[in-house]
Amino acid sequence: MQAVTQGTIEFLKLYWAPLLCGVVIVAFLPLIVGYVVLVERKLMADMQARLGPMRVGPHGLLQPIADAVKLLIKEDIIPEDADKLVFWLAPVLSVGAALLSLAGIAIGPAFQIAKDINIGILFVVGVSAMGIFGIVLGGWASNSHYSLMGALRSAAQLVSYETAAGMALVSGLLFAGTLNITSIVEAQRQQGIWFGLLAPVAFFTYLVASIAETNRAPFDLPEAESELVAGYMTEFSGFRWSLYFLAEYTNMIVVASVATTLFLGGWLRPFPRTQWLNFLDFLPPLLMVAIGLYCLVRVPKQPARVQQFFMVAVAGLCFFLALVLAVPVLVPVVNPSLAAGVKPLYEGIHGSFWFLFKVSAYLYFFMWLRFTLPRYRFDQLMRLGWHFLIPLSIINVLVIGIAMIVGTYLHLEGWWLLLATLPASIIALLIALFILAAEQKSGQQQAGGAASDSYAG
């Protein structure tokens, strides 16, 4: 008994920080996701000439909380013919996988729960792919045609696009030479250039594949509300439904984080080794000050007293963040002897700023696409995956590998690597376009007969 207690204490001593982080993530992620949804709705409203949620709280800012409360107190319906155990398990699996994969993500050099896993990125990708079980099982257990079709679509889609995404990641990993997430970012610091610039084709492939993997428009066929009502979630309601929703948005954050880590320099600022661009370090605090000032300017234009207070509060928050961001960059300027002391502070604070900034930009792009594009049909989605993205990503791995060898022979480093990789990317793109043209030609020939059967696989 004493040994067990002793062991537990030892364990807690060693792992108290990750455990705490884990609890914090599980507790706060629903809130973060709720606000991501609110941002999405506001952006959508902005693009669609309307206002979006405005009723709950100033400018609808409490809407996510109201939604969460509503979802929690909703009746929990399980269809009569459903497989109850699986029906119960499926959303939990989905959300569990999504949350677990978050553990591998590093928001800054200091903020990572599962620190220094040597297969970091593989862990994240592998675990997040487990979420598909939740979708397939949920669709199956519902015992409804719509759910089943949504689940089938989802399974086929994930299998197809996981390949392309994986190959795209391989292209990026060739530069890093490691799967460890911290080392990948460090490698980008040493090269002084983002891998996304060295392998733009791989970045593009990953971008498209990650949209498809997270079931977002224009690849949102598993949900496809105008065709399948809600796809695999049709029979789910209340809290179970919100678990699926949570999983979907968490997955979005995960893929955005992976892309940021591997292709966009993780927590590094743009051009991390270019000395004369060091003024970029002052950009985050200045940005915050600008947002704060804008809020102050808008205060007199707010119609209600509550909203005026609220705007002032937001401005105050921005100024506070600006101060926090300014300290690590101003201290070395004032007193160079303290530079080494604030280095970890700089890495931590500015690191998280840049990381979250890049993730937000990536998510914004996701949302923007959703509001703009119509939805692909299933056979078109499969064709795009198998006939275009997968060949493109495989060819890209080959040519990038050759470019790496050429680069090593010529002792190219940093930005000079572009000399080797840019022609390689162009070659990959040309081959892909050639494939696409050939594909279109054969597609036209096929269209003469009955509708082509690329769905049959």
Partner: protein
């Protein structure tokens, strides 16, 4: 619960469905040797445009048979007509195609005028033309928004509603109602045009010119849109005629038939406009035809407001309408196709029989022909492209 086993209900539904869809009643085996799947779409489904119920027989996701089940919105409009006076029935027709109420009213009023052997004054006819063409634009806008939404483009819907709102505001200013307007009266107009009608219409037409370019920017050359609409739901001209299709569905198949030109009514003979015609008869062509129709309607409105003749707005028809015994068929080009009224009078104040030929109902007959061989995703695209309104299909 008791003795029920999981899947019992499923099997029961499937067996009922099979007997009604398959012709032979035999089990059909599909490509991989699996049973076909019967999928019930509607009457509560986000994209069946109301309460259409479609029973689909699927091989995987490919449609191998379909059956439209209608009647969920049946209100017995034609029977109601037999128990109302001629004027009393006029508001009821607005409730058939409720997104194009003005067109419904125009058809009915003109049919009764034909029966009464009177003609509406010129001023009334011109204003009728303006309002009906605005209604055509409004109806097509609603179609465009919902059709794009079915195919997954979320945003055009809101842009279309913004424009439609302008038109509805004009209606509201004219007659006080936005949707079910009851704007016309047998023999002419209910209300005199308000002072700034011309200005409002002109402003709308001016804005609309650039706005429609915006919609086309979003969709017309979009690769996904092309992929989703080209070659989907093809209807050849012979088939379209055989199914009795009218309106944009017929014209997209390459048949140049528009009642506004063929048998001009209201004031259409005074204005210049083109009849857009498609070639392939697929969903994309129907899209193009409707877009061009909106442009032509805009041109008609602009021509009409230039010169609205003055004069009375109501012919002398009297308070009690007693048409001479006889029968009449009058049809107009409603936004969705030929809208016909067949009215039989027995000389009393109530019609003996009113038979309505709704364009949506007839166009819907080609649905099965269009969806066979396509995927489930195309079914919603085809329902959208037919531009049906269930109030009109079921009456």
């Amino acid at each position: 619960m008791g003795e029920r086993k999981p899947g019992d209900r499923e099997r029961a539904i499937t067996s009922v469905a099979k007997t009604s869809i398959t012709d032979s009643g035999e089990k059909q085996h599909t490509l991989l040797g699996a049973d076909e799947l019967i999928l019930n779409m509607g009457p509560q489904h986000p994209s069946t445009h109301g309460v259409l119920r479609v029973k689909l027989k699927l091989d995987g996701e490919r449609v191998i048979g379909s059956e439209c089940m209608i009647g969920y919105l049946h209100r017995g409009v034609e029977k109601i007509a037999e128990h109302r006076t001629y004027q009393q029935f006029a508001p009821y027709v607005d409730r058939m195609d409720y997104v194009a109420a003005v067109s419904n009213g125009l058809g009915y009023c003109e049919a009764i005028e034909k029966l009464l052997l009177v003609e509406a004054p010129v001023r009334a006819r011109v204003i009728r033309t303006i309002l009906t063409e605005l209604q055509r634009i409004a109806s097509h806008l609603l179609w465009l928004g919902t059709h794009a939404l079915d195919i997954g483009a979320l945003t055009p819907l809101f842009y279309c509603f913004r424009e439609r709102e302008e038109i509805l505001k004009i209606f509201e200013k004219y007659c006080g109602a936005r949707l079910t307007t009851h704007a016309f009266r047998i023999g002419g107009l209910q209300y005199e045009a308000y002072d700034t009608l011309e200005k409002d219409v002109e402003r709308f037409c001016k804005n609309f010119e650039s706005r429609i370019v915006e919609y086309e920017d979003l969709l017309t050359q979009n690769r996904i849109w092309l992929g989703r609409t080209k070659g989907v739901g093809i209807l050849t001209s012979a088939e379209a005629i055989a199914f009795g299709a009218t309106g944009p569905v017929l014209r997209a198949s390459g048949v140049k038939w528009d009642i506004r030109k063929a048998m001009p009514y209201a004031a259409y003979d005074q204005y210049k406009f083109e009849i857009p015609v498609g070639t392939a008869g697929d969903t994309y062509d129907r899209y193009l035809v409707r877009m061009e129709e909106m442009r032509q309607s805009r041109l008609i409105c602009l021509q009409a407001i230039e010169n609205i003749p003055s004069g009375p707005i109501l012919a002398k028809v009297g308070k009690v309408l007693k048409p001479p015994p006889g029968e009449v068929y009058h049809s107009i080009e409603a936004p969705k196709g030929e809208l016909g009224y067949y009215v039989v009078s027995d000389g009393t104040v109530q019609p003996y029989r009113v038979r309505i030929r709704p364009p949506s109902f007839v166009n819907l007959q080609s649905f099965d022909r269009m969806v066979r061989g396509h995927l489930v995703a195309d079914v919603v695209a085809i329902i959208g492209t037919l531009d049906i309104v269930l109030g009109e299909v079921d009456r």
